[in-house]
Symmetry: C2
Subunit: 183 residues, 2 copies
DNA sequence: TTATTACAGAACTGATTGTTCAATAAAATT
DNA sequence: AATTTTATTGAACAATCAGTTCTGTAATAA
């Protein structure tokens, strides 16, 4: 990839994330993004078809980073706890959320980020589907699988949002415990 | 209230709901609303400051209708099941959702209705806070109250959305059972 | 060195929002 | 019934924004 392209792309992402931490997605205009990124209008549209695609690609990069670093962390902490336990995956996620790399938290708690939440849930769903059997309680065995997956994913997201909205006061371990208790 | 005012207000709501069943909230323009409602542009802005306020007031009317009719129904069906059971409240809600008065379902399952969901949850939260004690399991007793309330509310909303998205195939009784099982 | 590619910057169209105002029609008041 | 108040109309208006197009220029690759 051309060095110029890379720089422009990063400048756009940086500006976009800064703006996302200040206001809702729908309130942000292309004009604001290009002013802050200090690029030409035509350049923006050469990179992203619309604002929606910009968010989509940003999300994909964030999730790659989130899930990649999760796998690394899993190896690194292998001696601390059992990585095969379903809790470990979520504990890792909560830990990485706490770090707030790339201001992902603003996206989670914000009020007009339906699109972001959809992507987040899509990614989580894949993760949960693979591990579904480890969650099976006798009680929920007769429920449709898609319902169970949806419930786990939704509960994770809502737990994370509650955590963020209340100022991240609990430790990742504690919030994982909350999460597993209600589950 | 002036008969003229009432008529235009209803025409606006009717047009707005019809449009909401066709496309996302953010895609709907004021121009489309006034064309469909067959009123002047200035008239719209005499009634609603912005499109957001229109949605807000629509939601308030829908919730009044939903919760009012729920109370009536509660009396009407008192002989059928125990209304003090926490399940009955939610069963009523699921029943009224199934009727889909005023196309409320489109709002629930749609993709850009963060605003609507916020109002929905606010109303539900009040309901749940009053009945929280009836939900207390020993397991969740040590969790913060706001977390528990949030979890119940979120789970209800997500259950309803799953139900709607999957074509309302289950009966209200069945979906209430699903809901209470995962809870 | 040459050819290719990305960017700047400006101008432009079209859509949309929200406001204003004078004329008209409906409703309320006397 | 006559008068006053109020709501609506319809059109025109400015402002903002999205997305496109173009030319000249600078960076990169061949």
């Amino acid at each position: 990839m051309d060095r110029r392209q890379r720089k422009t792309r990063e400048a756009i992402f940086r500006a976009f994330i800064e703006l996302l931490s200040q206001k809702d997605f729908n309130q942000i205009t292309v004009g604001e993004i290009i002013d802050r990124a200090d690029i030409g209008r035509a350049t923006f549209y050469a990179h992203f078809e619309t604002k929606d695609y910009l968010l989509k690609e940003l999300c994909e990069e964030l999730f790659c980073h989130l899930f990649d670093s999760m796998h690394k962390d899993e190896n690194h902490h292998r001696h601390i706890f059992d990585c095969d336990a379903p809790s470990s995956v979520f504990l890792h996620l909560f830990r990485h959320l706490q770090k707030n790399d790339n201001n992902i938290l603003e996206l989670l708690s914000g009020s007009n980020n339906e699109l972001f939440l959809r992507y987040f849930k899509e990614n989580l769903r894949r993760l949960v589907e693979n591990q579904l059997s480890t969650f099976d309680a006798e009680k929920s065995a007769h429920l449709p699988e898609s319902f169970r997956v949806n419930h786990i994913v939704s509960t994770f997201v809502e737990t994370a949002r509650w955590w963020v909205d209340n100022g991240l006061k609990e430790t990742p371990e504690k919030i994982t415990e909350y999460f597993l208790t209600v589950l």
